[in-house]
Symmetry: C2
Subunit: 234 residues, 2 copies
């Protein structure tokens, strides 16, 4: 964790990503810019860990992170991924509780850190900002509820298909049709909530059914309609 040399400018960031800060006045944006601290993380670094207290929220400028909980026998359950423009770590700050998730870097990341105190100043001063953050929380809540129902009711096969489609939507595909996020088989399994071997077996099945192509950690979606049918989303 070293200080990033090129400080991201909150104003520009706001324009390119439509962050939660979009309702701030120019003065408030300047305030954040002065108060924030920019951090540089390498792949594999842990930004914060479940159970620890944090003293601010994070805004991702660059890279990819995963947010997960550690469950039975240390197995991680991935809750969601973060991409540029996403804020994370606000839950524990708002509820004044220890973090209930850990965050690890998947692709080298640049993260801005905003101290709790300064966040609260803004929340009190600008109610629109609070509504903005409330909207983020409500959106995540909706996703969590969907996810819950899926895990409770769908088969591993259905869930894998669905996760592949979600990853495509969230991270996009490159010119070759490959999803722009490279996960280990274990990580893939930890999103779906299954054993690594099961995820591998199903990937192989999808491959031999010509639904996807696989090159190491690169997954290319060939037949999206089939995936949609398998995943049971209409």
């Amino acid at each position: 964790m070293i200080k990033y040399t090129e400080e991201p400018n909150c104003k520009e960031c706001n324009i390119s990503f439509k962050t939660i800060f979009k309702k701030l006045t120019p003065e408030q944006l300047e305030f954040i810019y002065n108060k924030k601290n920019c951090l540089n993380f390498k792949k594999g670094d842990v930004i914060y860990e479940e159970g620890n207290r944090t003293n601010g929220i994070y805004c991702l400028y660059k890279g990819i992170i995963k947010i997960y909980k550690t469950g039975i026998e240390g197995r991680e359950q991935i809750i969601k991924f973060g991409k540029p423009g996403d804020v994370f770590g606000y839950r524990s700050v708002i509820n004044r509780e220890p973090a209930c998730t850990s965050v690890k870097v998947i692709d080298d990341a640049v993260v801005c850190f905003i101290p709790t105190l300064d966040l609260y100043l803004l929340l009190k001063e600008n109610s629109e900002f609070g509504i903005e953050l409330l909207q983020i929380a409500c959106q995540e809540l909706g996703e969590a509820n969907n996810y819950l129902t899926d895990i409770a009711q769908k088969s591993v096969r259905e869930r894998l298909a669905e996760v592949l489609l979600h990853l495509k939507n969230d991270f996009g595909i490159n010119k070759d049709g490959v999803i722009n996020i490279a996960l280990t088989r274990e990580e893939l399994a930890n999103i779906i909530g299954t054993a690594t071997e099961s995820a591998i077996r199903l990937l192989s099945e999808f491959k031999s059914d010509n639904i996807i192509e696989v090159q190491g950690r690169n997954i290319k979606l060939i037949d999206i309609n089939k995936l949609k049918r398998i995943s049971n989303i209409f």
Copy 2:
């Protein structure tokens, strides 16, 4: 759905339940009191349904409701229960989306309805109120994440034990040690995310292991430590 005769008074409600309205000024509380609409629901009534647009949020004064999603082949996945003092229905209002859950009455309910417009007036006027609602959302988010990890990683047996403990914490027990919420076996199964038959079988197991006693829909917890051990929470 008929208008309730004894209008709950927001001031008193606030004192007895510590609702999200506790940070409102007396004038704002009076404002809510005048704007709200009080509704009376019978057991089995549906307050709103997934996919529909709602135009306000609800605050439960009396009774019990269940919040659920309808998944594969109409099977309901219960997300959570609501008890007096709880607000619900805010997610779709805040995100200006159709409801992503349905709400049905389990015990005859009295509910106050606050129109979207009036809610937004307060949110803009009083940032503390927004923070309060944000806290509720963040709390639910944390619970959803825990729940997700449990369903993904724990066995049905573990989850049943955990759910019984949660129900005890949320609704309490009466003088005989019976949990103060009466659910059908199917509902119990729909919280855990399992088949009704599986839930029944495990209840019988718990019964013959002297962990619980069952009289119809009344469940009495005998050995809470054993339940804790089974549920794998420390």
